[in-house]
């Protein structure tokens, strides 16, 4: 029996000069299943032949929480807006870990899959989406610890906690914009990979994770908030711990930054992608 299946990698008639006209998003949608396959591969491969397995998803944010609690709560007294410092930091650390994991794995996604990129065509951004998907699974696991902490510290959640969903969506779009840039730069300049750990560390301290956003001096805030992660992280904390909606002024700065970054990064990526195989 022959099963008729419509070929869905569309017929291609490629004119170099009209590549921009190709419908990237349509092609990406056609390859949604490929994103899932890559994500499954990444998740399965990440925890195979480890003893602790998926516990590693929790270990990173929990260790950071312990260090932060010791340093910023016990040694130096950083204000935590009347909230127990462990939950004050952990509630946003899991979202930061999602950002950091996506960024560090997304940046090297092309070079780590160099054999594939060199040999086979597929929309390359599927590799990035897969990295983010697998980091989202880790976030889910780390979130379970957060739930336990809510119970332990008897912090009540309000309906405002639902703001986490749009905030996470914003964060996802922003991460995507960043790794679209960094992963293509990494193909051309391996310096990107070397700079990354430093960049991530600076970025973490430039975001209100270990300290509340209110401790940033007023005059500095307009610049401080140009970092979209600042408004987003602050939003998570408001929604989860204070039962408030995010500060729309802050997000009002973050949103356009994210939209512009994403559009620019995607076009840049699709242009750079054409010669990945020649350079990687």
């Amino acid at each position: 029996m022959r099963i008729a299946i419509k070929p869905y990698r569309p017929e291609h008639d490629v004119d170099v000069n009209s590549l921009f006209a190709m419908n990237y998003l349509q092609e990406l949608a056609d390859n949604a299943h490929l994103v899932l396959s890559f994500a499954k591969r990444d998740i399965r491969a990440k925890y195979k032949q480890t003893i602790l397995g998926v516990a590693w998803a929790v270990i990173q944010p929990v260790s950071l929480m312990i260090v932060f609690t010791l340093v910023f709560s016990l040694f130096a007294r950083v204000p935590s807006e009347g909230i127990p410092y462990p939950i004050f930091s952990y509630s946003v650390l899991i979202f930061w870990t999602f950002f950091a994991t996506s960024l560090s794995q997304g940046t090297v996604a092309m070079t780590a899959n160099a054999t594939l990129v060199r040999k086979i065509y597929f929309p390359r951004e599927t590799l990035l989406l897969a990295v983010m998907l697998s980091a989202l699974v880790d976030l889910g696991v780390a979130g379970l610890i957060l739930v336990a902490m809510f119970v332990y510290y008897q912090v009540a959640l309000s309906w405002a906690a639902l703001w986490v969903i749009p905030l996470l969506a914003l964060e996802v779009l922003f991460v995507l914009a960043v790794i679209l840039m960094t992963s293509s730069l990494q193909v051309y300049f391996r310096d990107m990979g070397h700079a990354l750990p430093l960049l991530l560390q600076l970025w973490m301290y430039a975001s209100p994770i270990a300290y509340p956003l209110t401790s940033v001096p007023e005059w500095l805030r307009p610049f401080y908030l140009l970092n979209p992660m600042a408004g987003i992280i602050d939003g998570f904390r408001r929604a989860l711990l204070h039962g408030e909606h995010p500060d729309f002024t802050y997000l009002g700065i973050a949103c356009p930054v994210i939209v512009i970054a994403l559009a620019g990064a995607y076009l840049f990526f699709k242009r750079a992608e054409r010669t990945f195989a020649d350079v990687i």
Binding site: I5, P7, S37, F38, K40, Y121, A272
Partner: protein
């Protein structure tokens, strides 16, 4: 009306060399660094149902054509079109992950090659049966043997069901039985009027499968037409037959004995490098002895066009003792008759010590020649030789 499925029109591809590569590729800056044109203004068309053999020396641009067709890279200039779904048997199993099981890898690799999940579901049993790894489906791939991995990779790739299939040298994977399976799969695709682009250095497989041959060199088309004729003209450029064959060979360093000239002659005694199947031919080897040598042994090895040894013999095998007195001597090997199939061949000549352990002189590809004879393109013979043989018919066996 002709049904064209692949069109290349004025395609050029420039690669940037050296350290400026990154900047140049990113900013499309032609001024910086050295550039290399892998393809130059190349135009051709392929009709539906054709099997095109793509031949040319290393670096001619064959893999660049495949890369452009499969969209791994884009041309620098010009445009191309492919009608329908394209599949590539290029690097089978490139997407395999060692930690995943065979089953998971079939799905992953299928997805990478462009199959949807339900499509893989539908063909899963067929793929597994083809690969012959049923028993190890739930074993991580890292425990597979190399052969199993290649078979699984080929099995997935062969079931993409493409309209245009690119095949690069994969006919050489697996054991003979598996190769036969692969060839049958290709024949099946041909019967379904699929278009195939076959890249190989093995002229017999090119001749056996192609309906037309595209010969390229230095990024431009040299010829595009009849397989036998095109392959032959290509081989003539690979070997400058006849001239090189009689050339005086340069003397080696301190060896007591050396080969000075190797000449291949046809039945008429001409050293023009073209022999005929079924007719006698000879190889004359002139050697010079400068110091006394104890019972030297002459050995000859015949090669195909890729220098793959096909067979050889020594003077010892036939109980011949060479004349080892000082001065110049000639020894003649007579092939009676020539049993090579149509194609291009080379011969390596060496002189070894009496125990056939050390080389005293060795001349790789000392002479080359073309043979006119039965062609594997006819599919009536295969390989490089037709062995001495006869047939007997025994009708109604046993009665």
């Amino acid at each position: 009306m002709r049904d064209i499925v692949v069109t290349f029109s004025h395609v050029s591809k420039r690669y940037e060399l050296h350290r400026k590569l990154a900047r140049a590729a990113l900013f499309n800056d032609a001024k910086r660094g050295d550039t290399f044109w892998a393809l130059r203004d190349m135009s051709f068309e392929i009709e539906r149902g054709a099997t095109i053999g793509l031949i040319g020396p290393n670096g001619a641009g064959k893999s660049t054509i495949l890369k452009i067709l499969s969209r791994v890279t884009v041309p620098t200039e010009g445009s191309f079109a492919v009608k329908g779904r394209l599949g590539a048997l290029i690097e089978v199993g490139a997407g395999f992950h060692p930690e995943l099981t065979g089953r998971e890898n079939v799905y992953l690799n299928g997805a990478i090659l462009g199959m949807r999940k339900r499509e893989i579901d539908a063909k899963f049993d067929e793929i597994v049966a083809f690969s012959e790894v049923e028993k190890f489906l739930d074993t991580p791939l890292k425990f597979y043997s190399n052969g199993m991995m290649v078979r699984l990779g080929f099995a997935v790739a062969a079931h993409i069901d493409p309209d245009v299939l690119l095949v690069d040298e994969v006919l050489a994977v697996g054991d003979t039985a598996f190769q036969a399976k692969c060839l049958n799969k290709i024949a099946e695709l041909k019967e379904q009027d699929r278009t195939i682009v076959l890249v190989s250095h093995a002229m017999p497989s090119i001749l056996q499968h192609s309906s037309r041959v595209l010969w390229i060199d230095h990024g431009t088309i040299q010829a595009y037409g009849d397989p036998d004729e095109t392959v032959e003209s290509y081989l003539r450029t690979v070997h400058t037959h006849g001239t090189e064959a009689t050339e005086e060979l340069t003397a080696p360093s301190d060896s007591p004995i050396h080969i000075t000239r190797v000449t291949v002659r046809n039945a008429d005694g001409h050293a023009n490098g073209s022999l005929k199947y079924g007719e006698p031919a000879s190889v004359d080897i002139v050697y010079t002895v400068t110091q006394p040598v104890d019972d030297p042994v002459m050995s000859l090895t015949f090669h195909d066009v890729r220098d793959f040894p096909l067979g050889g013999l020594t003077s010892r095998f036939d109980g011949i003792r060479l004349d080892a007195s000082q001065g110049s001597s000639t020894v003649r090997l007579i092939l009676s008759p020539v049993l090579f199939t149509r194609g291009s061949y080379g011969v390596t000549v060496a002189i070894q010590d009496s125990r056939i352990q050390r080389y005293m002189d060795m001349r790789p590809r000392a002479a080359t020649f073309m043979v006119d004879g039965p062609s594997v393109a006819s599919r009536e013979v295969s390989g490089h030789f037709v062995l001495p043989h006869r047939w007997e018919l025994h009708p109604q066996d046993g009665r």
